[in-house]
Amino acid sequence: MLSERTFKAVGKPLERKEDRRLITGKGRFSDDFSLPGQVWAAMVRSPYPHARIVSIDAAEALALPGVLGVFTGADCLRDGLKPIPHNPVPSTRFDVKLTGRDGASVFIGPHRLLPADKARHVGEAVAMVVADTRDQARAAADAVMVDYEELPWVADTSAAAEPDAPPVWDELPDNVLVDSSFGDAEGTAAAFARARHVVSMKVHIGRVTGVPLEPRAALGSYDAATGRYTLHAGSGGAVRQKRELAEVLGEPPESLRVLSFDVGGNFGTRNRAYVEFGLVLWASKKLGRPVKFRAERSESFLTDYQGRDLVTEVSLALDETGRFLAMRASNLSNVGARCVSLSPLSKGSGLITGSYDIPFATLRSWAVFSNTMPTQAYRSSGRPEVTFAIERLIDKAARELGFDRLALRRRNLVAPDRFPYLNAVGSTYDSGEYEANMDRILALADWQGAEQRRAEARARGKLMGLGFANYVESSIGTPKERADIIVTPDERVEVVIGTQPAGQGHETSFAQVTADLLGVPFEAVTITLGDTDVVSAGGGTHSGRSMRHAATVLALASEDLIAKAQRFAAHLSGTAAEAIHFEDGLFRVEGSNRSLSWFDLARHAEDPGLPEDLRGGLRVRRDNEMHTPVFPNGACVCEIEIDPDTGGLEITRYSTVDDVGRCINPLIVHGQTHGGIAQGVGQALWEHCTIDETSGQPLSGSFMDYGMPRFDNMPSFKTQIVEVLSPTNPFGVKAGGEGGTTPAPAVIMSAIEDALSSFGAPHIDMPATPVKIWTAIQAGRAAGAGQAGAAG
């Protein structure tokens, strides 16, 4: 369908259209919106991890200045508000099918806007106060007296799955909501039986939080005259949230307009609706005033949907030459106090064998409730965890069995002639050149020069470490997307589409695609997003789906529009449609030197007396449904230096090779890789949602405790884009948004292990903070494994 020579904009590092308003302070973030007469909401939050709500006394709060109302879970039930329909079980055609025990349906734990029965995690909102000012609402929230009956609680992932763990939900006494098995058990058992070597590992990849810099905010209003609600709130998909929130309110979807304009980072945290969004809408109708909510950063740390938290046990069977024969995995996901999304467990399940040709595997994928904030997809949902498991397991095999870690990997990579490759848990990888990726990264990272740099570091008293990781990941996402393309008489092409960027540059990259498909200038194309009164349908943005779905539906819409325009040009020039040829953005009348531009046509698009099929303007609407996943892949090398006296760590080099399929805008894709790297490195070195073992209280409540990637702890990067086109969609797009994160935790821990190899490869749990590194070195020294200052 597409020929390379028509690309004028696609593939170019064009500067972004969205930047102008963002660099001049004209962004439109949720808290930037205000309405006349607006009032403010503040939440009363549970201080306990698990507690029955015995009673709520609002008398003192209601007596405070400016307070307009106090609302509880009982009020929600009385008004017939429904739970948020999160629809957490992934159900597209190629999603790994997770079920409850023995195939039962998954009990998800309903998510009401305010619970009437119990609080199931610290920070769960149990009441809402509305007052004239935000300060008044927050002061009044402190004055609401909630009588709690504390209940036994469990926070730790493994502990929650133990038989004696306190149940989070009465309906599911053992807390295990998902328990599914996959793979060929018999073949795997046979392979393990005949293996020369078996290597095993168990690791808990801990809980982190997305920390988008824009705290969540929502402004809800109700117009009694029209019976319509309006919500200004940054989201991961305005169309989805409109549908969900309308259902919560018990109103038809058309009665709600959701506006998500500029969104200050998502990373998965905004993929599911927050209770405050429904609460401000509901309160705005009850009070007849617009109601606004804005989270404090401490509220974000406490009650943003969180990420990761997987306990994985993996085993690899090898023959005497190092060939991988089979793999076993048990992946236990902590969904928190209720199930909001099983995407991480599902996505990870399909990728446990990684970049390697492992003929047999069995997998137990299970999930558990706990008295913690619910988790959902977070940057590369599920894939960094399983990449960590397989890559670190291979490192362990290499170390224990005496193989070179690169040679062991090369020996087992999926070969280029095996694509499309069906892995042992049922995923079909579309395309890739995995060994070529390895060659590229080793060159880019100057692997050859590393030992010299290690010696130089040693002379400065530092322990150098060299880390390596391959990765393959998947992008599935909501299968449906819709695009409207409208060519206007004033020489603009407007595209309306249902993705929801939070920094990915859709206004630019989608314009590039449209410009080349239609042969119009890039500058003439505008992309409209985020207002559900304009955007009628769409899948939002997550899982790397947007570019692939957008490019495909735009390609199809363009075909339709070009065909319509040809008929229109034929009508205008009094010829047959077959006599109109479209080339380079012009409609040429065969046998003449007459040609019409899009805008020539658009100027006549509203003429009276047009045939029926040409009326309505020069516009088209196209829906597309696409289920086939794609598999971005690549490799990553990093170098670090550890100061053995302090445990301090510096990343000195970080290089990546990423096969994103066709790269629409390399400026944007490199930027995505950079940011993705930072989030993965952050988990490896600094980030953790720590919970106190004795009290169940979250301890990482602010930037004072939650370490972040910063200017002075991140290196500069060498990132290389590789384009092995995917055969699954017309542009050959895979995805470029999450490959930076996927191998990052593995590559950092691989480097740390390398740096500390002379101390006996001590195990360090992420985040590998200085105190942990130093403590591991002391333990290694005490065990007599190393000499001060030496490295492997």
């Binding site: 500067e15 972004r16 969205e18 930047d19 102008r20 308003r21 963002l22 660099i23 001049t24 302070g25 004209k26 962004g27 973030f29 808290d31 930037d32 205000s34 997305g210 920390v211 988008p212 810099l213 824009e214 705290p215 500029d262 969104v263 200050g264 980072g265 998502n266 990373f267 404090e296 950063r297 401490s298 939070a502 920094g503 990915q504 540059g505 400026l667 944007i668 490199h670 930027g671 995505q672 950079h674 940011g675 993705g676 790297i677 930072a678 989030q679 602010s702 930037f703 004072m704 972040m708 990637p709 910063r710 200017f711 002075d712 991140m714 500069s716 990067f717 930076g740």
Partner: protein, 163 residues
């Protein structure tokens, strides 16, 4: 209540403010200048950075009352009509923003750094001096490039020579 008079991007502004209102909210909510953002509650993220009497400050931790008699510059005041400030232009050229939320504070911090740092700006110094600004999207790489490029344009090429 306090009565404050200050100039904001060169324009005199006088208002009654609550004594406890921070400059960031005075800008955003009283004056409707929503370019300055607030991203945290522990004075760490830097989204709120503006310039107060010519030096960068975190406006979430300065009371509006403390800014009485001062000159405030915000991101809305950097461009001259349609002509962008070199730092703004460099951010666009080098893709130093993605979601744009940290960007106003980031730009104001960069303007202050380029304007006032004595001595050459190297990548290491930029990274050290900008540690009071967080970004979650970009991984910082392109922001460092943008700041160095803008510094070269504003100060001249010799500013990049190592000393």
């Amino acid at each position: 209540m306090a009565f404050v008079s200050m100039t904001i991007n060169g324009t005199p502004v006088s208002r009654e403010v609550e004594d406890h209102q921070f400059l960031a909210y005075f800008l955003r909510e009283t004056l409707g200048m929503t370019g300055t953002h607030v991203g945290c509650d522990t004075t760490q993220c830097g989204c709120c950075v503006v310039r107060l009497d010519g030096v960068s400050v975190k406006s979430c931790t300065v009371l509006a009352a403390q800014a009485d008699g001062c000159a405030v510059t915000t991101v809305e005041g950097l461009a001259t009509g349609e002509v962008l400030h070199p730092v703004q232009r460099a951010f666009q050229t080098h893709h130093a923003l993605q979601c744009g939320f940290c960007t106003p504070g980031m730009i104001m911090a960069a303007v202050d750094l380029i304007d006032r740092h004595p001595g050459a700006l190297t990548p290491e110094i930029v990274r050290e001096e900008m540690e009071g600004n967080l970004c979650r999207c970009t991984g910082y790489h392109n922001i460092v490039k943008a700041i160095l490029a803008a510094a070269e344009e504003i100060r001249g090429p010799s500013s990049l020579a190592a000393e």
